[in-house]
């Protein structure tokens, strides 16, 4: 312990952010990399405001896209997985954050109602594990290759998925 008992309100050495590559807008870089990697499946790219991007992706390419985001684009943090039910589809919204570039990417994927399943990304981001379980528990979305897809918030013997619109009280 280098400086024990001393207030360390300052960022310490080695914790500084790596400088962005000069002359390259990080948002542009992400957009280009995703569009290059998945020309057919990534659609609807949109810049919501500074540092917040939104893209749609088909569910079969989700795992690969996430792998790409994590490994080569520096998105270290999966913030949230939200499942939204619409009339004809489930929408899964992944909020993925890059600490380095201060970017937030909203990755939207859809699954049909009769087969609500996507690939699990808990092997990429460990933080996705429980969030996927929660989505399974409350919304009934199945995540393929998930290490332990069980109910987490509700009792084990509960039969409904309460956040679905057809569940009434």
């Amino acid at each position: 312990m280098a400086e024990r008992g001393k207030s360390t309100g300052r960022p310490e050495e080695g914790l500084e952010r790596a400088p962005s590559r000069i002359g390259e807008d990080p948002e542009e870089r992400v957009i280009r990399a995703l569009l290059d990697g998945f020309p057919n499946t990534v659609t609807d790219f949109k810049k919501l405001r500074k540092g917040v991007l939104r893209a749609k992706i088909e569910r079969r390419e989700l795992y690969k896209a996430c792998k790409l985001l994590k490994d080569s684009l520096g998105f270290e943090h999966l913030s949230m997985i939200s499942a939204v039910e619409y009339d004809s589809r489930f929408e899964l919204v992944y909020h993925i954050v890059s600490y380095q570039e201060r970017l937030l990417l909203e990755l939207v994927t859809t699954t049909p109602k009769d087969d609500p399943s996507v690939d699990s990304i808990s092997s990429i981001w460990g933080g996705a594990n429980w969030q996927e379980r929660e989505s399974y528990d409350l919304m009934g979305i199945k995540f393929n290759n998930h290490p332990k897809l069980e109910r987490i918030l509700l009792p084990k013997d509960y039969v409904y998925h309460p956040l679905r619109k057809d569940f009434k009280g």
Partner: protein, 178 residues
Amino acid sequence: MALRSKDFLKWCDEVLEGILRKSPVGSGIDYVTKDFFNWATRNSLYYLHFGIMCCALEMAVASAPRFDAQRMGVIARSTPRQVDILIVNGPVSKKLKPALRRLYDQMPEPKWVIAMGECAISGGPFYNSYSVVPGVDQFIPVDIYIPGCPARPEALIDAFIKLQKMIKDNKKGLLTGK
């Protein structure tokens, strides 16, 4: 004569019970000790260190210096075997219900339950939720209800005083139950 030790013990129990509970001896002992035991019981209330939601925080604050419930002899213990009061301070979900019932069953008699805050009384803001039991009195007998969302520490201390009054009002002998 097949009087085994177990039978002997049972016989002793019966005789003692007959003497103590049914005869005037028991009533006499009760008459003498009733007030004293009641005084002790109401002045030393231990509650279970068990927090559910917002009111748990106020319960903790009640035992901190500003509100200081300890001056009345109210102390938190961590195990249900050693407490008199179960303070239910939050919504009881369906997953929690069996555990809470078990906690209540583990407490020794005489025991009291305080439903602290709206959630414990009726479910509060979550009364129509799919996973909340609307009111703890659906499966545990409740003695004192404290309104408030969350109930303030003063209200909790007031509940302790009310409980003391309640215990004082129904004095019961230990042996005869009268």
